[in-house]
């Protein structure tokens, strides 16, 4: 029983990890919690749905299309909404991002309604071993998340643009002074993060369902993972995702599963009280 829960937890963690990394990267340059991330994930799920079911394309093309499409939508959200408002207080931007999430979610609802949908995929038998079950799609999700994690690590650590991203997140003015084109770097970060959100949408469509609120239900676990790992730290986000993913599934042992969505909040509240800067984050010096 608990072995199955651990497998579910790892799948859950693989779903949370890519957007948690993206949220962390975005927080690094923007310095406010972007509540629209859930809506971005929903956009990814619906683009993949439109390509897969609507246009009849194979799943992997639909997935790539969703990543590209979501990247553009997410970048546009910066150009149209957030960029003109840089310099406003974090709370103002937070309210704006919530409003943006509502807008995106309801534009999708306007065209697709609130029905629950799924991809057009052949039904597969779950693989069984020692009484445990896992589907082929779930294995794909786990493998791809690991690949993504390594790719982001290589990008940040060894490429020119990755170093520029870290420099910009660390101190934008200093990076600018040192000759980094920060507005290019910021746009690039939005694109990368958009692709990650789009991919998460595809994962969510594979493992959960496709509906206008699918991203909203993931928002809180994503926040919890990013805060748990230390906000602004991509590696922390991966660790945080693993812990939150397992914690959410294992609470089923003690609480009815309908309380799962509350677990993320409790983790956040307790953690912020004990270690406000997260597990791997550095304490921020205030004034």
């Amino acid at each position: 029983m608990s072995g199955q829960l651990i497998i579910n937890g790892i799948v859950n963690a693989s779903l949370i990890a890519p957007p948690a990394i993206a949220f962390s990267l975005l927080f690094g340059i923007l310095r406010f919690p972007n509540f629209a991330i859930g809506a971005y994930v929903t956009v990814g799920a619906f683009i993949a749905y439109a390509l897969n079911v609507g246009a009849g394309m194979p799943m992997w093309i639909a997935g790539l299309g969703a990543m590209a499409g979501t990247a553009v939508v997410v970048w546009l959200s910066d150009v149209l909404v957030f960029k003109p408002m840089r310099g406003h207080t974090p709370v103002t931007l937070l309210v704006v991002s919530i409003a943006l999430a509502l807008i995106i979610e309801h534009i999708i609802r306007l065209f697709y309604g609130a029905d629950v949908r799924g991809f057009d995929l052949p039904l597969e038998r779950p693989i069984k071993f020692a009484g445990l079950r896992i589907t082929g799609e779930q294995i794909d999700i786990i493998v791809m998340t690991i690949v993504i994690g390594i790719a982001i690590h290589l990008l940040l650590q060894y490429t020119r643009i990755g170093k520029a991203m870290r420099a910009t997140a660390d101190n934008e003015t200093l990076a600018e002074v040192r000759g980094i084109n920060t507005s290019y770097v910021i746009a690039f970060t939005w694109f990368i993060c958009g692709a990650l959100f789009g991919l998460t949408g595809v994962f969510a469509g594979l493992d959960l369902v496709i509906e206008p609120l699918v991203g909203w239900y993931l928002t809180i676990p994503i926040f919890a993972a990013a805060i748990l790992g230390g906000i602004g730290s991509p590696y922390g986000a991966m660790l945080g995702a693993l812990l939150v993913g397992l914690a959410e599934e294992l609470t089923v042992l003690v609480l009815p599963s309908s309380y799962k969505i509350g677990v993320g909040f409790v983790i956040i509240a307790v953690l912020l009280l004990i270690r406000p800067h997260g597990l791997l984050g550095q304490p921020e010096i205030k004034k």
């Binding site: 704006v96 309801h106 306007l110 409790v266």
Partner: protein
């Protein structure tokens, strides 16, 4: 139609109480609260359950709603002592969702999604069915007036200046010897009590409460009211609450003219309009339609009637 207007005005009243409470917490003190729906639900269920399950008189159950709101507000504020404001946003949002989850899942007590039926209404036996909606509107209006006077008194008092100091820079306020934590807990608890009051009044008005009413969306509407009206300004947000409600309800009538959209699509468009307006107002008038008056020493002294002669110098 006039019955509809009366009911709409009553709902504007609930919005106004919530907005005044949020203005106290955020507009004046700078504490973010996205758990408004949670406090609202707590008030509604406290009063509803005490009246249905224990048969307490309505006056006492409404008072108890304020008390639970007060206690919950105080506890959430204690959480905030080490939190930055954007983290507090997440914690309060979580509080609201957990309250809703409990109301949804503990259905032996709260009736869950079936909805809790509440028969008791204040002063119900003193008036007939025709005039009762007007009486209730008057009751809500009186509650708005009381909350408004309390919040406005706090704003003009020395405590109000301390709160603004905390909002602008809590470190400076602390250095000046103000007890920042105590002020924050007090203000958040009082705001929670007002939200509980609004919830109780709502519960006895609609007489059937269920968890889906208390979605996080409620918080957005109230934030919208405060931001549109002008944060920190109590008059402005009364206007703001009216504007938001008019958009929400007024767009219902669009359905009579646009027949190619169904109800689902119309409600989606309504939310899109609200969202776009919110962003547009924050872009164009970040301080709201009626901004908080700029603080000046002369203005503050005339306000207290100490130096009426400087009034012209404002």
């Amino acid at each position: 139609m006039s019955a509809y207007l009366i009911s709409m005005a009553t709902f504007v009243g609930f919005f106004m109480i919530l907005a005044l409470a949020l203005n106290l917490q955020w507009g004046m003190t700078g504490m973010v609260n996205f758990g408004i729906a949670g406090f609202y639900a707590l008030g509604a269920y406290t009063s509803g359950l005490l009246s249905v399950k224990l048969g307490w008189p309505v006056g006492i159950t409404i008072a108890m709603s304020c008390v639970t709101g007060l206690i919950a507000g105080g506890l959430v504020a204690l959480l905030s002592m080490r939190l930055r404001e954007d983290y507090l946003a997440i914690v309060t949002l979580g509080f609201g969702e957990i309250v809703r989850l409990i109301a949804l899942n503990e259905d032996q007590i709260t009736e869950g999604p079936r909805g809790l039926k509440i028969d008791a209404r204040p002063f119900a036996d003193m008036f007939d069915r025709e005039t009762y909606p007007l009486v209730y509107l008057a009751l809500v209006a009186a509650a708005v007036a009381v909350v408004f006077v309390i919040v406005e008194c706090i704003r003009r008092s020395p405590m109000g200046r301390t709160l603004r100091a905390i909002r602008e820079d809590d470190v400076v306020a602390e250095v000046l010897g103000k007890n920042v934590l105590r002020h924050r807990v007090q203000v958040f608890a009082l705001g929670g009590a007002f939200m509980g009051l609004a919830g109780a009044l709502y519960a006895h008005y609609v007489q059937n409460i269920s968890p889906e009413v208390f979605m996080p969306m409620v918080a957005i509407f109230i934030w919208m009211s405060v931001i549109v009206g002008g944060a920190g300004n109590n008059w402005g947000l009364l206007l703001g609450a009216g504007v938001v409600m008019t958009i929400l309800e007024g767009s219902r009538f669009l359905g009579d003219f646009i027949d190619f959209l169904d109800a689902e699509q119309l409600s989606a468009i309504r939310i899109i309009v609200i969202g776009v307006l919110l962003i547009a107002i924050l872009r164009v008038r970040p301080r709201g339609l009626i901004p908080e008056p700029k603080f000046s020493f002369a203005a503050s002294s005339t306000e207290q009637g100490r130096q009426p002669s400087t009034e012209n110098a404002k």
